[in-house]
Amino acid sequence: MSETTAKVRKSLARRYRQEKRFQAYGILSIGVGLLALLILFTDIIGKGHSAFFEHYIQLEISLDRDVLGVDDASDDEQLNYANFGGVIKEALRERFPGVDDRQQQRQLYALVSSGASYNLRDELKADPSLLGGTRNLWLLADDDVDLYLKTPEKKRPEARLGDQQKQWIEDLEAAGDTEKRFNASFFSHGDSREPELAGIGSAIVGSFFTMIVTLCLSFPIGVAAAIYLEEFAPRNKFTDFIEVNINNLAAVPSIIFGLLGLAIFINLFGLPRSVPLLGGLVLTLMTLPTIIITSRAAIKTVPPSVREGALALGASKMQVVLHHVLPLALPGMLTGSIIGMAQALGETAPLLLIGMVAFIVDIPGGPTDPATVLPVQIYLWADSPEQSFVAMTSAAIMVLLAFLITMNTLAVVLRKRLERRW
């Protein structure tokens, strides 16, 4: 074995060791990342999954005309003022006779959610013949009751309910008069002080309108800016200056955009606060740099030979852009835009500043109705003292994450799909 070979052997061994070590580092860091993700997901899903269900209590309710103060169940006006609370209280007293003390009565009444009246009204509206009769009906339980029923047997003694109340709930459960149902209102309701009535409906709709406004503004503006800068703008100090500033803009903390929105859109232009239109405008400012930068990158990847070919056939500059550059760059532009939109969807800070942090009960009907958005709703709930909101916060986070993952997947799929033509 010659001297060189020996040396090479030795250095080879070292090189392989180095390579192995390097790979190990890589795997380790990916492992750490995945672990963090796993912990995050287990925590959120563990906390949040229970919020997708809620409990109902069955009571025998007599829809007495006198107590309700209704003589015609098909008259909406009357139904709106009917004393459903009265019949529910009566039903509860009947179910648990012998509760005479006022204090105790109040505790008894607290078993049923204040939203149960609406349950009842809807039932009656759907079937006016119920009036005057007696029926077994399922009513939405109060959030404390719900929480109690969701806690495993062992931990129940710690619950924040009176002993008497616990007894009543146990009784109802034993009699099969409690039921766990899918919490559809979580998706359809707006915010509420009562956790069992609160939902992310208005936040989702608010997010939707905000995103629509953002998309409709930032995509065309961003793409147009990118095309102009990339294809038409002369190369000089001024365009260099613009380019540097677009890159700077991408790095500006988002809360600054909120301040800008406050100063310009609200104070200067007098736009109403708390509306998706305003949120969309602010988020447009925020996503524009991302879209411009990714779109320019996409345009740069269009081979110059294709442009030359089209020019040599007599295409004008505009035609080269429309016929060749845009179609080829579109997948990249779309991907960039979707990722920008996903960022915007998760954005909270700038929206807090423009008043989208309001307590919104109604589902907004358009981009000019007051609304809140998902991440802000999460922020609001995370701040709430009621224990039930803990689960709801996590549930809302799950929904938000689901949206984000869907959007990012869409971006990847779209890119794969459209790139095949290339």
């Binding site: 190369r235 110059p304 030359e308 040599a312 056939l313 033509r421």
Partner: protein, 296 residues
């Protein structure tokens, strides 16, 4: 503008790679004086393109020095010369592709028939429909074969009906000798063809707008000998209906396809003669040095 700069950066990178090392021979040749005037027969009767005192500058750097040349009707003229001598630059000024390069300026009188090419009133779209160009690297659009060929006619509104367009596409592909190979897959992608087929597709695309002059910048340099032979055959056939100017590095190719040959040296047009004369009895020393392979 960014794109243009990038375009020519890339072009130049290509050229650099092709540039052979200067050898001893060339240095000695550099002492050979340039002729006062282009030697040989640069002018013909009733030319298709009449080019006089053409000077081309890249910023302050002059790439073409006072070139005067005629291109006859239905003739194939080949432009040869060492790398970097300005063949591409000269060719690109004939259909104003140099316009896409910011720093490039063209001076002189350039006429296509009676039309001044650099007349400010002239629309370059119209000019490029009359003077087509085929590039060194095949550059089909990432569209179907049909759309590649139909692109030019559509652009200029040459066909009113689908039927007419079909006919133009078929005829162009036939003239380019590609029809039989692609007639069953007209709607599959043009980028899926082989290199030689792609180049013929580009030729079909160029002749689909019925240009009067076709410029070719080293159209075979990316192709194997068989594909090259096909293209050369094609050039021969095309010369019946088109005027062709072709830049080539292959002297055999110039000898095979062209009627006249123009020899460029460092931005100057040294000699233009019938192809046979150039390759058998070159008049100028520089030409002789080049074709005998002493440099270039």
């Amino acid at each position: 503008m960014d794109t243009a700069r990038e375009l020519d950066n890339r072009n130049r990178a290509d050229d650099d790679a092709a540039k052979p090392l200067i050898d001893v021979e060339e240095r000695s040749m550099q002492d050979t004086p340039y002729p006062e005037k282009t030697v040989g027969k640069p002018f013909v009767d009733a030319p298709k393109m009449k080019l006089r005192h053409v000077n081309v500058f890249y910023a302050d750097n002059q790439a073409i020095h006072d070139v005067s040349l005629d291109i006859g009707k239905n003739e194939v003229i080949s432009l040869i010369g060492p790398s970097g001598c300005g063949k591409s630059t000269f060719l690109r000024s004939l259909n104003r592709m140099n316009d896409t390069i910011d720093i490039c300026r063209v001076k002189g009188e350039l006429h296509l028939d009676d039309q001044d090419l650099y007349d400010p009133k002239l629309d370059v779209v119209e000019l490029r429909a009359r003077v087509g160009m085929v590039f060194q690297k095949p550059n089909p659009f990432p569209k179907s074969i049909y759309d590649n060929v139909a692109y030019g006619p559509r652009l200029h509104g040459l066909a009113d009906k689908k039927y007419d367009l079909d006919e133009i596409v078929e005829n162009s592909l036939r003239s380019a000798g590609l029809w039989n190979e692609v007639k069953d897959r007209l709607h599959s992608s043009g980028t899926g063809l082989s290199g030689g087929q792609q180049q013929r597709l580009c030729i079909a695309r160029t002749i689909a707008v019925s240009p009067e002059v076709v410029l070719m910048d080293e159209p075979c340099s990316a192709l194997d000998p068989i594909a090259t032979a096909k293209i050369e055959e094609l050039i021969d056939e095309l010369s019946e209906s088109y005027t062709i100017a072709i830049v080539t590095h292959s002297m055999q190719q110039a000898a095979r396809v062209s009627h006249r040959t123009a020899y460029f040296h460092l931005g100057r047009l040294i000699e233009v003669n019938d192809t046979e004369t150039v390759f058998t009895k070159p008049e100028h020393e520089l030409t002789e040095a080049y074709i005998t392979g002493r440099f270039g």
